[in-house]
Symmetry: C2
Subunit: 199 residues, 2 copies
């Protein structure tokens, strides 16, 4: 697996991490049905599922935030992440409603983590000796979506998946990894993210 593909799939984690198994879960039949059912499907739509970037998703409410660190294909991976939900998804999270209802969409936004020299200077002045390190969201890595439609995506437990980098969807091989990766979360309707508490 190339670094780019691996990192992008990783970017999916929290919504989708790549596991190169079980690609048979995504049948040709599913692919055709999803494509035919999505008038917007095309170059800007995810393979298999035919999902495009939902308008205005960047303004959706926060489900939770996360951090990912490690090494992959010889390179460091350090990401800051946020999971956002449309109104239907947020309501379901708050009410603890499972499975998620029709129309729920979860966005996983992944940024490359960068140290904030400006913040660190202020922290060093305010808390000398504490060694506090602040990092913030840097460049965008990718964004991923789970779209709930139990009929359209019946073959993948009711969820369609999509992974975009620079506004363009990843390839079919990448998208074949989404569903099997989410299977360990089957008791939570394939959703990894938990709703973060409100202070």
């Amino acid at each position: 697996m190339k670094l780019h593909g691996a990192v992008q799939a990783l970017g999916a984690f929290g919504v989708c991490a790549a596991i190169a198994v079980c690609s048979q879960y995504i049948t040709r039949s599913t692919a055709q049905t999803a494509k035919e059912g999505h008038p917007e499907a095309g170059n800007n739509a995810s393979p298999i599922y035919g999902i495009t970037i939902p308008a205005g998703y960047r303004d959706w409410s926060v489900i939770s935030v996360g951090h990912l660190a490690g090494r992959l294909a010889g390179g460091n991976v350090r990401q800051l992440r946020a999971q956002l939900g449309n109104d239907i998804a947020i309501r379901a999270f708050r009410e603890g409603k499972l499975p998620f209802p029709y129309g729920a969409i979860i966005a996983a936004v992944h940024w490359n983590e960068v140290s904030s020299d400006g913040n660190n200077k202020v922290l060093a002045d305010g808390f000398p000796g504490a060694g506090l390190q602040s990092s913030v969201a840097g460049s965008a890595e990718n964004v991923q979506f789970m779209v709930k439609d139990s009929k359209k995506y019946a073959a993948t437990a009711g969820w369609g998946f999509a992974d975009f980098k620079n506004g363009k969807p990843g390839d079919e091989a990448l998208h074949k990894t989404c569903f099997p990766c989410h299977l360990p979360a089957k008791d939570r309707d394939l959703v990894f993210a938990h709703y973060a508490p409100t202070p």
Copy 2:
């Protein structure tokens, strides 16, 4: 400074970090004016500024996310953070508008970071040997607000500040630290957070 107070002030960072100087910036006159001007001021309002928790802030849009790590008063500090904005603030960020207009409110939400065993297991299966570590938002630490009102908060460069833990505002000593801490960001109207890019 006690651990609790220090951590809470830290929680403020990205919006407010504690620096035990310049408390004279917050004059008695400002305090009285702010209190009188806020009918909601009371036990649930921040000292000095009289700000209560804005309804529905948890659903506001994301400005950016961040991570904070270090040691403070002998304890480890590890936080995941999100800065949220009301519509006025988000618009100003997107348009690069400075200073922020009347009514802009920025919320800094701080959670204690917890490792996700569930995520890590999926990652270990999908990326063997990568040593990937996932952490997510755990318990809520605190939430802080900056409220723009150039007249009401004229003595503090147009911003009022508030810091809440478990729904209760911190004390006056804590709130005296907000404004001087933000002064290093005076070229950006005292706002540390940058708007994270949209993938």
